[in-house]
């Protein structure tokens, strides 16, 4: 019998997986017309299952697979309590914000968050700044995801596949299927990737850790603090809940609100995501990490993030190949969505609005494809250097973006009083405060909390002393909500 080495096994399993994504990408290509709405938003025709799966797969990154398991291992259910809170909050935000964003996107043809903000506030500045903040949130994070992919390859193959080659392999696959198939390829591969990594956790990890650990009672007997709630610093808890609970405001998540085929689809997806996100995702991660403390005890710091890898190395080295594929699935499904979203921000918000306002739909879609290739290459080059600013922006980017976008979104979606100066003030002050406090976390509060506090004060103060949007714009947005949400004629 031929013996297959672990590195070769990893390469075979990952290659099979990548071929599957490319085949799906090809089918996406066959169905995609080269128009901006089709390429970036799948023609606004996604059904409930695909939309819900692309949401959850985009939302759950490589960090969920590795870092969140590690956090549950170190902090126990106090971290799970934080995670299940934000994983319940964001589907709730889809219900209250996503439905409104869907109506606006459908009615006025918006493609990006900046389209929506700059139209409502009659301000090009808000659009440009929102796009730049969106890119700050997306590009460094993508590079970090890719670093994770390279490291996973290198670790699983014992260095036989070096870091640079592993990350290159992954980025080429993502670049190809996103380039040719646009959003349809991204969304359909997200379905595969989401099923793969959630299925891996539920079908393989949970039964295994349950039987090896003896279940919660045995774990509690060995380490009771694992099941004690309230052990996670509240200042961090609040920041995580705000950042990820309001993540439908991140560009690649917000754009998914524009993709639903009908009002029923966006609502039904939100309802389905309560189960997928709060229960299927966070409970699986929590049980794996918490019960794992008695299986491989004593992991400290970032070593705990490697729990699944160590677990497989100890109990089934050959399954290590499936882990790499599972981690890649989690990472790729986030990366591809962010890649396409970044391309749309550059294409629609900068190229079409400032370079070629008369660009045809075909030209816009083609430029979008070119940006996909450019960002893909840039991402890989960036991932080769562990630049400190890149890591900082990648880590802080989501908080900066959410703390900034929250204020213009409140004006667009709920409260007609704030005008463009208030929105711009909230956007800049929220984003800047979240960035400035990233290193210091004053009084132990997460930088997102400071973004919301400072941005909120500036936004509220300016909302009452500066002019509101024009009555036509208020009617265009809030009048539409009166009819669509409340049924008021």
């Amino acid at each position: 019998m031929v013996e297959i080495s672990v590195p070769l096994m990893v390469l075979i399993v990952v290659t099979v997986y990548i071929i599957a994504t490319l085949v799906i990408g090809y089918y996406g290509y066959k169905r995609t017309k080269l128009t901006p709405v089709d390429y970036f938003l799948g023609g606004r025709e996604l059904g409930t299952f695909v939309l819900a799966m692309t949401f959850i797969a985009t939302y759950a990154s490589m960090w969920t697979f590795m870092g969140a398991v590690g956090a549950n291992y170190r902090i126990g259910i106090s971290f799970h309590q934080c995670m299940i809170t934000w994983n319940t909050l964001w589907p709730l935000m889809l219900l209250v914000m996503g439905t409104r964003m869907w109506i606006l996107g459908k009615k006025y043809g918006y493609l990006t968050p900046s389209d929506m903000f700059s139209d409502y506030y009659d301000s090009k500045a808000i659009g440009v700044i929102a796009s730049i903040i969106g890119l700050i949130a997306l590009v460094p994070y993508m590079a970090i995801q890719l670093m994770g992919a390279g490291l996973a390859f290198e670790a699983a193959t014992g260095g036989a596949i070096p870091y640079w080659a592993g990350s290159l392999y992954v980025v080429i696959a993502i670049g190809i299927y996103t380039f040719i198939g646009g959003l349809r390829a991204v969304a359909w591969t997200d379905v595969l990737q989401g099923i793969f990594f959630l299925g891996f956790l539920w079908a393989i990890m949970i039964p295994w850790v349950f039987s090896l650990s003896g279940g919660p009672a045995a774990v509690a007997a060995a380490n009771p603090s694992i099941f004690q709630a309230g052990r996670y610093a509240y200042g961090q808890w609040l920041g995580f809940v705000l950042t990820w609970g309001l993540s439908p405001l991140l560009p690649h998540m917000l754009q998914r609100c524009f993709m639903a085929k009908s009002p029923k689809v966006i609502l039904k997806s939100a309802a389905l995501l309560f189960i997928l996100s709060a229960w299927i995702q966070s409970v699986s991660v929590a049980l794996t990490g918490s019960l794992g403390t008695v299986i491989i005890p004593g992991l400290k710091g970032v070593a705990a993030d490697q729990f699944i890898v160590m677990f497989m190395a100890k109990y089934s080295p050959i399954m290590g190949a499936v882990i790499v594929a599972g981690a890649l699935a989690a990472g790729m499904s986030t990366l591809d969505s962010q890649l396409l979203s970044s391309s749309s921000l550059l294409t629609r918000d900068l190229y079409v609005k400032y370079v070629r306002p008369k660009a045809s739909e075909l030209e816009e879609a083609r430029i979008g494809q070119i940006f996909v290739l450019v960002i893909t290459a840039l991402m890989w080059v960036l991932s080769l250097y562990s630049l400190a600013p890149l890591v900082v922006l990648g880590t802080a980017g989501a908080a900066i973006c959410v703390a900034g976008y929250f204020f213009p979104a409140i004006g667009c979606l709920f409260w007609p009083r704030p005008g463009k100066i208030a929105a711009l003030g909230g956007l800049l002050a929220g984003g800047a405060a979240a960035l400035a406090t990233f290193w210091t976390m004053p009084f132990g509060f997460h930088n997102a909390v400071w973004g919301f506090v400072v941005g909120g004060i500036v936004f509220l103060a300016l909302a009452f002393v500066t002019p509101p949007p024009s009555p036509e714009k208020q009617r265009k947005f809030h009048g539409l909500f009166s009819k669509a949400i409340y049924g008021i004629e």
């Binding site: 259910i77 106090s78 799970h80 309590q81 934080c82 299940i84 809170t85 319940t88 589907p91 709730l92 219900l95 209250v96 439905t99 109506i103 459908k106 009615k107 279940g215 919660p216 009672a217 509690a220 009771p224 099941f227 004690q228 709630a229 309230g230 052990r231 996670y232 509240y234 808890w237 609040l238 009908s262 009002p263 029923k264 609502l267 039904k268 939100a270 309802a271 309560f274 189960i275 709060a278 229960w279 709920f414 009617r475 265009k476 809030h478 009048g479 539409l480 909500f481 009166s482 009819k483 669509a484 949400i485 409340y486 049924g487």
Partner: protein
């Protein structure tokens, strides 16, 4: 304007979400439901509490879709067809 149309059912759903938010914050602050005892159904109380309260929020989320979905669908489709 309220986030959802005012009705007794929507107010009840909003109240459930408010209870969920308060309960999760209090537990995170270490004020309520922090200990393992009593164990309920093989699960420590701290975990049981967060799952029970989150289950309530999940049911409220799905109920929002079930209760409001039809109205939203009809009103949204109508609003989209109209000229603003």
């Amino acid at each position: 304007m309220p986030i959802l149309p005012r009705s007794p059912v929507n107010k009840a759903l909003a109240a459930i979400f408010a209870i969920w938010v308060i309960a999760m914050n209090l537990q995170a602050l270490g004020i309520i439901a922090t200990s393992l005892e009593p164990w309920i159904g093989g699960v420590p109380f701290s975990l049981f509490f967060m799952w029970a309260i989150t289950a309530l929020a999940t049911i409220a989320g799905i109920a929002t879709y079930a209760i409001w979905g039809k109205d939203f669908e009809r009103n949204a489709e109508k609003a989209l067809k109209e000229e603003m």
